[in-house]
């Protein structure tokens, strides 16, 4: 399967981070979540929609998310995912560590340019 060179693979943990961030203020069902991430990331990130689901299950298992029965926009039964308190804490930790990492990378890259 040929890859679009403009789109990048995700690094480990990034998908989980994006899921937590997306669900932070609004619980969503799977399809809505997939659509949300696609739109927000401007289609720059290559994710198969399906790959959301293993990530969701991992987050459920870690207790960072919880799910409940709900109805989709089209009136079909589905499951709504919501971030737990533990999930929030985890998200904040991860975000700050990501920010530190990005800051570090940016600095190195700017030094290299100069």
């Amino acid at each position: 399967m040929a890859k679009d060179p403009d789109r990048r693979d995700l690094f480990a943990g990034a998908l989980e981070l994006m899921i937590l961030q997306s669900l932070r203020y609004r619980p969503m069902h799977g399809y809505a979540l997939a659509k949300h991430i696609k739109q927000v990331s401007d289609d720059l990130l290559q994710i198969e929609e399906g790959s959301l689901y293993p990530a969701l299950q991992r987050l459920l298992r870690e207790g960072l998310l919880e799910s409940e029965a709900g109805i989709s926009a089209k009136g079909r039964p589905t499951r709504i995912y919501r971030v737990t308190d533990a999930g929030l804490r985890h998200l904040e930790q991860e975000v700050s560590s990501f920010e530190k990492m990005f800051a570090g990378i940016t600095r190195v890259l700017s030094v290299a340019k100069a």
């Binding site: 799977g30 399809y31 929609e49 790959s51 689901y53 207790g63």
Partner: protein
């Protein structure tokens, strides 16, 4: 969440997941339809965007699983489904593996029983055995029992041992109670601390007390569990009662538990070992009969103990050169000592090697079967890989199939080995030492069977799995060429398997052939005397009733008078040893010959016989005369010698008139004149060796322990009641030992040989059959694979006969290469066997090699013949048309 509750909530999780995914796709389809795309296209597009639904679902589920365990379970379920789908393959593979595993588990039960025996006490590994080393010993010279003076010397060296107990093993006693038939038993005398050294106490009653080894206090016994059950009906009130041992009353103080067992050291009762001042005297050093069990002093290693013991032995050699010259001392851990003394290790090593090869052959067969199957499944594997299965996953699946096969084979094999072990254990009764050791399907055997099963799983599925690793999705999916020869690498694998099977089978055949031939020659060697229709029994005239030569002589005269009256006997004789039963040897001196150096002592087997001995046993007199009634105590001392004696010591010169002196303790050193030469008799029925032998006249040196031989034209066993009647008429308390025909005596000396031969022959046949099946299977399979190629050849003008010849030639070529390897490996076997097994048995038999080589090649050709014929009948048009 705990693992367990996760397990229960998982079903709901999976349902949630499916609902979410279904909804996801449905919603996307709706959206696309809203955009004006046809429902069918929308469905396709939605699924494409989503990715592999099954894979995503699988990955999502894995979040909830103990991945390895669960996917292994899934693999096992899948493997079982696959295997039930092709029952022919499965049954062949399982039965093949089962046979391989069964023979291994069965043989291992002997290893478990004899080489890993259950030893008594809480810490048997801390007990050591100190022994003397016999400078002239032929067999296990370094575990010779020690003398009482050495026992005292070693025990008292506190730098060495913290405790030491002595045991005088293998004593023969006479158990007699009024009104019961007297019974000869084997018993041991032990120092009172013997059982406490092991940390074992009696199951009822008490242990010996300190001081019970003193004369006057020593008439106490401990019974073995077996004797207690057999002779005393497990009577719990036995403690405190008295039994009559060697015509004296002993008080029973306790019964030892059945678990107290030291491999072959299995006395029926124990008495205290009384050592007197005489046992401390220098001449007591000649009497080496004590087994010394000890605990090392704290901090002393086995190596240090060995060194220190050597120092003590050297000291004794200096102080007592008469008796201790060149004698050494050795130390072994108890387990090591017992296993070594048993002397079964080498025979078991041979057996285990044989069954190991059979397992390899069985695995090669199954590997061949799996390989053939893997080719049929090439597409299935390629499809599974294209659907997202990783290589590792596919290989694991194949290995799982191998494991499942091996476990089924292991289960069936264990079932078969249960019968095998029962049969083996029934066969292992040829002497009391072997019969004493229980051979069972114990946990060690179970563990071994499981390990062997796993090993065979790996061995048999590694080749197909490696093959699968190289599966190329594209080429294998596209491949139309199912009928072609399947490429170089598969061909190489086949050649290796067939060649390897032939090599192993031929190696095994030659090895077992050499052993079986050697044993057969032993079993059928001419012993040099007539052993049919002879009844034999032994008697030991005990010192209590027969303290002196006059009393003994009185018994013998009375015995002879009564034996003569038994109806139906044609003659009888007494002898200190039965012929071909390995009589003891004594040092000799021949008058007029210069004394040889001490390390080249002349020795001869020494037997005391009554005058009728030679006519009774039909041992021919070659020169001179036999003994007569005139050769009595008052006549000049005479002796007969055998041919080997004349040959070895007199260089075949005339022996008559030569004078010989025997060097024996307790016998006056007189010169005896050789009056006759008799033909050779094998010294021991199980060895082709003949020792120089001297015969003494009974009346000139009567012995207290001897055998009676009765000849009759009737069945020998029919004389037993008369013989018993005669002996009990003279002395009702005197037991008759080893009452049996001479043929039975010889049979008894064969020990494990007949069983060993049968097992070896059966294993060799099994190896041959398995490898034949394997060769047939692999060649038949290769013919099947090459149907298309054969079709092309025929279309181009090859005749059926050409094709047959081609297949046969290829089969033969591989078999020839394999045979060459097997033959080369088998060349050093006779030397190896000769170094492993004591005695003068010759294993070299050049004729065995070509015969078995031809047989192997014939079998290989035969196995290729059927597929070759089938190849010749291939119809070119249908072969080419088929796919």
């Amino acid at each position: 969440m705990s693992g367990l509750s996760r397990l229960f909530s998982r079903r709901k999780r999976y349902d949630d997941l499916s609902i979410s995914i279904d909804e996801h796709i449905a919603e996307r389809v709706d959206e696309l339809v809203d955009e004006g795309i046809s429902p069918a296209e929308a469905e396709q597009a939605a699924r494409r965007e989503f990715g592999n639904v099954a894979l995503m679902e699988q990955r999502s589920r894995e979040a909830w699983q103990w991945t390895t365990v669960e996917s292994a379970l899934a693999d096992i379920r899948f493997a079982l489904r696959q295997l039930t789908r092709s029952p022919g393959f499965t049954i062949t593979a399982v039965v093949t593996l089962a046979l391989g595993i069964a023979v291994n588990a069965t043989m291992f039960s002997m290893v478990s029983a004899f080489l890993m025996p259950q030893l008594p006490g809480p810490d048997p590994q801390h007990i050591v055995v100190a022994s003397s080393v016999d400078p002239d010993g032929q067999h296990q010279a370094d575990v010779n029992p020690a003398s009482a003076p050495n026992y005292f010397a070693w025990r008292n060296d506190s730098r060495l041992f913290s405790a030491m107990a002595a045991e005088n093993e293998y004593r023969t006693g006479n158990l007699s109670e009024p009104g019961r038939q007297p019974e000869a038993i084997t018993y041991a005398s032990i120092s009172p601390n013997y059982f406490s050294l092991f940390g074992v106490g009696p199951e009822i009653g008490r242990d010996f007390l300190p001081g019970e080894d003193q004369p006057g206090h020593d008439h106490v016994v401990l019974l073995s569990h077996g004797l207690w059950a057999r002779r005393f009906g497990s009577d719990p009130s036995i403690v405190g009662r008295s039994v009559r041992l060697n015509r004296e009353d002993y008080q029973v103080v306790g019964v030892m538990p059945e678990s107290f067992r030291l491999l072959i050291f299995a006395p029926e009762l124990w008495t205290p070992l009384t050592l007197t001042a005489a046992d401390r005297a220098p001449q007591a050093r000649n009497n080496r009969s004590l087994y010394l069990f000890a605990r090392l002093a704290s901090g002393v290693t086995l190596e240090q103990a060995r060194a220190q013991l050597r120092v003590l032995a050297e000291q004794a050699e200096k102080d007592f050169p008469e008796t201790e010259k060149r004698w050494g001392a050795s130390i072994r851990t108890m387990g090591d000592f017992l296993i070594y003394s048993f002397g079964i290790r080498d025979a078991l090593a041979v057996m285990m090697t044989v069954v190991g090869f059979i397992l390899l052959i069985a695995c090669a067969n199954v590997a061949g079967l799996l390989l053939a199957r893997a080719v049929g499944r090439q597409r299935e594997l390629a499809i599974r890989m294209s659907l997202g299965a990783s290589r590792v996953r596919v290989v694991r699946q194949l290995l799982t199939e191998g494991v499942v096969l091996a476990l089924m084979g292991g289960g069936l094999g264990l079932f078969l080995s249960w019968f095998g072990i029962r049969a083996l254990s029934a066969g292992l009764r040829f002497n009391e030492y072997i019969a004493n050791v229980p051979v069972t399907l114990d946990t060690k055997v179970l563990f071994f069977a499981a390990m062997v099963s796993l090993l065979s799983a790996i061995l048999s599925s590694v080749a197909p799995a490696l093959k699968a690793c190289r599966t190329e999705i594209n080429t294998d999916l596209k491949s139309e060429a199912r009928g072609s020869s399947g490429g170089r690498s598969r061909n190489r694998m086949r050649v290796v398997l067939v060649g390897g099977e032939v090599a192993m089978a031929l190696f095994l055949l030659i090895g077992t052939g050499l052993l079986i031939r050697a044993i057969y020659m032993l079993e059928h060697q001419k012993l040099g005397f007539r052993h049919d229709h002879l009844l034999t029994a032994s008697l030991v005239l005990d010192k209590e009733r027969y303290p002196d030569a006059a009393k003994q002589d009185q018994f013998v005269r009375s015995l002879a008078a009564h034996l003569r009256e038994i109806p139906g006997i044609n003659g009888f004789a007494l002898a200190s040893n039965l012929p071909a039963t390995g009589p003891g040897t004594v040092p000799i001196h021949i008058k007029g010959q210069t004394e040889s150096r001490s390390n080249e002592r002349h020795t001869a087997a020494d037997v005391v016989v009554t005058p009728d001995y030679f006519s009774l046993t039909s041992i021919p007199l070659l020169r001179g005369r036999s003994f007569t009634a005139g050769d009595d105590a008052t006549a000049p001392r005479v002796m007969l010698v055998n041919q080997e004696f004349v040959h070895k010591y007199l260089q075949d010169r005339d022996a008559i008139g030569q004078k010989v002196r025997l060097d024996m303790t307790g016998v006056a050193p007189e010169w005896r004149e050789i009056v006759g030469v008799v033909a050779d008799v094998k010294s021991y029925s199980e060895d082709p060796h003949v020792d120089p032998e001297v015969y003494e006249a009974w009346a000139q040196r009567p012995v207290a322990g001897f055998s009676v031989m009765l000849r009759s034209s009737m069945e020998p066993d029919s004389l037993i009641p008369s013989l018993r009647h005669v002996v009990s008429g003279i002395d009702p308390e005197l037991p008759l030992l080893h009452v049996m025909s001479m043929d039975k005596v010889i049979d008894g000396q064969k020990t494990g040989n007949p069983l060993f031969t049968k097992i070896l022959a059966a294993l060799a046949m099994l190896a041959l059959i398995l490898s034949t099946i394997g060769i047939y299977g692999l060649i038949a399979y290769s013919v099947g694979q090459r149907t298309q190629e054969i079709g092309i050849r025929m279309a181009l003008g090859a005749k059926g006969a050409d094709i047959s010849r081609m297949i046969l030639r290829e089969g033969f070529k591989v078999a020839a290469i394999g045979s060459a390897i097997g033959l080369a490996l088998a060349l050093p076997l006779p030397k190896l066997f000769e170094s492993m097994f004591p005695g003068d048995v010759h294993f070299g038999a050049p004729v065995v090699y070509p015969v078995l080589l031809v047989a192997m090649l014939a079998v290989a050709l035969g196995a290729s013949y059927v597929p070759a014929r089938r190849a010749a009948r291939v119809d070119p048009t249908s072969a080419l048309r088929s796919e």
